[in-house]
């Protein structure tokens, strides 16, 4: 065999190895990301479950409001951070998306549980704390709205619970019944949409100033 043909074969073999290496590393990194999210989700879920269990146990205690006041911001912030990580990492997936779907659905369960608990705390302790249900999709307006909400969360005492409203339009996706129910209850037809304190609905992109005026008049 002449040197050119031999070199072609060597280069093809080496390139094939590189392709396989790239795929293997991609799959391995998917696994690392999923492990990272799973660990974080486990921690977040445990915090929420502990929180709910404590809430049920001390529901009638006079320390209830004090305890809730200290725990809610911490858990809420952790949950919001996890949502950001999930959005960033699931887009990098190379292989099967089912693991991400499972994590996402568990996360939405966690969000709803937390949302209910915060509302309960507000009712019981008479606290004037703002909760926002945020339904987003992949649009530019949703991306901008996400930045606005990050800014507001940094500066105001507000809890944001975010849900991807686009997911359920994909017939192949494993639908989260949590998102389905929330969308139906609040008649969500477009994104971004915000539900303020389970009452007021704001549709479309809303800049920081306008949103602050609406939510914190």
């Amino acid at each position: 065999m002449d040197v050119v043909k031999e070199s072609m074969l060597k280069a093809s073999a080496f390139t094939l190895v590189m392709v396989l290496l790239g795929v293997l590393i991609g799959l391995q990194m998917d696994s690392v990301r999923q492990d990272h999210l799973s660990n974080d989700l486990r921690t977040s879920n445990l915090q929420t479950e502990t929180f709910v269990a404590l809430q049920n146990y001390i529901e009638d205690s006079e320390n209830y409001c004090e305890l809730m006041e200290t725990r809610i911001p911490e858990i809420s912030q952790r949950s919001a951070e996890f949502g950001g990580e999930l959005r960033a990492l699931e887009g990098q997936s190379l292989g099967d998306d089912s693991e991400y779907e499972y994590i996402r659905n568990r996360y939405y369960n966690n969000q709803l549980q937390l949302y209910s608990t915060v509302n309960q705390y507000k009712d019981k302790c008479g606290v004037n704390q703002t909760t926002l249900l945020y339904f987003f999709d992949d649009s530019v307006d949703s991306q901008r709205q996400g930045e606005v909400l990050n800014e507001i969360v940094r500066n105001r005492d507000v809890h944001v619970f975010s849900f991807n409203s686009e997911l359920n339009q994909n017939p192949e996706a494993r639908n989260s019944s949590v998102v389905e129910v929330l969308k139906r209850d609040h008649n969500i037809t477009d994104a971004p949409t915000l539900i303020v304190n389970d009452e007021e609905k704001i549709e479309g992109y809303t800049p920081t100033g306008v949103l602050e005026n609406e939510v914190f008049p």
Binding site: S7, M8, A11, L94
Partner: protein, 409 residues
């Protein structure tokens, strides 16, 4: 989609790099070549076309005047220069150096043909007026031509006459690699160009194929394609060099490279039947397709970088339009998250392919027995030169599409 384009780009680059490294592993050492001795040295005419070369013409004529080859002359062709090229050249007029003139500017190929018509010597050497050659190069090239009658031409490695500014230093790195690749192409018998800095041909071969193509802005490449088509091969002398003036400004480099790229497009279309045609050996089945793939890879790389930058800017714009300027968050947690959220399935093959390319550059320098003189130029060549190259190719394609006027610059 972007992932698949990135992979195609990276793996094509890996394939080509490994392919050339494999060729290199079996290459014969061309760094030490004997200077042949002739009982009756064949006659040779050096054809030196010139257009507005007043800054370098004296140096070029000095170098050929002092060649101690017993049987040569120089046909210097002034292609209606508008500066003092002719006045300076006329001072060298002698029995050995003929000064020929064009009343009107006809282009480089026409100037070479004027010199070709005025000689009956065995060989012609085409040497630009901004280039210098060494005596031993002439002997070695002549030796190869005499030894192998199937050779259509011999070229030399190219080095800078001077590399005092950054643009020339970058090209010095580029030519180090070009010389290395041409040496490998000699091994594969796929050389596709006979550069104006130094190329030697049999006079009769060139006359038989009708001389240089006067409508062509890369007449050297066209001649190589035409001689290849007529069944001739080419060789390169690696151990001796021709020294040429590299463009010293981005504009001059742009003009030269856009001309080369347009010349390639024109010649590729003109000789399209040679592509993938086994009749022309690896020149047709390997080299010509590679000549198309390489600029396609360069352009794709540019588009990838451009897309990446645009996406980052777009993302920044979205943030800015929503909440104004934001500094990125720092810290170990963010570092870990940034690391795992990186697109490793692209970065790992990309880093490996860069390592292979770096290894080829190192190998090219080691083979030449040299070390990079300017690390900045080397780094620029390694990381950013493809951006310039893709700009040249985009300009060339646009100019071809819009049929912009072709000029000898």
């Amino acid at each position: 989609m972007i992932l698949y384009i990135a992979w195609l780009l990276i793996f094509s680059s890996v394939f080509l790099s490994v392919f050339y490294l494999s060729i290199y592993s079996g290459v014969k050492d061309r760094r030490e070549e004997q200077i042949p001795e002739f009982e009756n040295p064949p006659s040779v005419t050096i054809l030196m076309p010139a257009y507005n070369e007043e800054d370098v013409v004296e140096e070029a004529l000095d170098s050929v005047r002092d060649l101690e080859y017993p049987n040569f002359k120089v046909n210097f062709i002034n292609d209606a220069s508008t500066d003092s090229t002719l006045e300076k050249a006329q001072k060298y007029s002698s029995e050995k150096i003929n000064i020929l003139e064009h009343e009107v500017n006809k282009g480089k190929a026409a100037a070479i043909n004027t010199g070709l018509e005025a000689t009956e010597d065995d060989y012609i050497v085409v040497q630009d007026a901004d280039s210098k050659i060494e005596l031993e190069l002439l002997y070695k090239a002549m030796g190869k031509m005499e030894e192998d009658r199937g050779l259509g031409g011999v070229i030399a490695s190219i080095k800078p006459l001077s590399a005092e500014n950054f643009i020339r230093k970058i090209q010095t790195v580029e030519y180090q690699l070009t010389n290395f690749y041409r040496m490998l192409m000699t091994e594969m018998n796929t050389l596709n160009v006979t550069p104006g800095a130094f190329s030697i041909y049999r006079t009769q071969d060139v006359k038989d194929v009708g001389g240089f193509d006067e409508g062509n802005i890369t007449e050297d490449m066209e001649m190589a394609f035409r001689l290849r088509k007529s069944g001739k091969n080419f060789e390169m002398i690696y151990s001796s060099s021709s020294y040429t003036e590299f463009p010293s400004t981005v504009k001059a480099l742009y003009n030269q490279r856009v001309r080369w790229a347009r010349g390639f497009i024109y010649n590729a279309i003109k000789y399209r039947e040679m592509f993938l045609n086994p009749k022309y050996g690896y020149f047709g089945t390997v080299q010509l397709p590679m000549l198309v793939i390489m600029p396609a890879l360069i352009l794709t790389s540019f588009l990838m970088v451009f897309t990446g930058i645009m996406q980052s800017l777009y993302s920044y714009f979205i943030t800015w339009s929503a909440v104004g300027f934001q500094l990125p968050e720092l810290g170990l947690d963010n570092l870990y998250f940034s690391l795992i959220s990186m697109n490793w399935k692209v970065y790992v093959p990309l880093i490996l392919s860069l390592v292979i390319v770096a290894f080829i550059i190192k190998t090219a320098y080691r083979y030449a027995g040299e070390k990079p003189e300017n690390i900045g130029a080397l780094m620029f060549y390694f990381f950013a030169y493809f951006l310039l190259q893709s700009g040249f190719w985009v300009a060339a394609v646009l100019k071809e599409v819009t049929r912009s006027k072709k000029v000898w610059t």
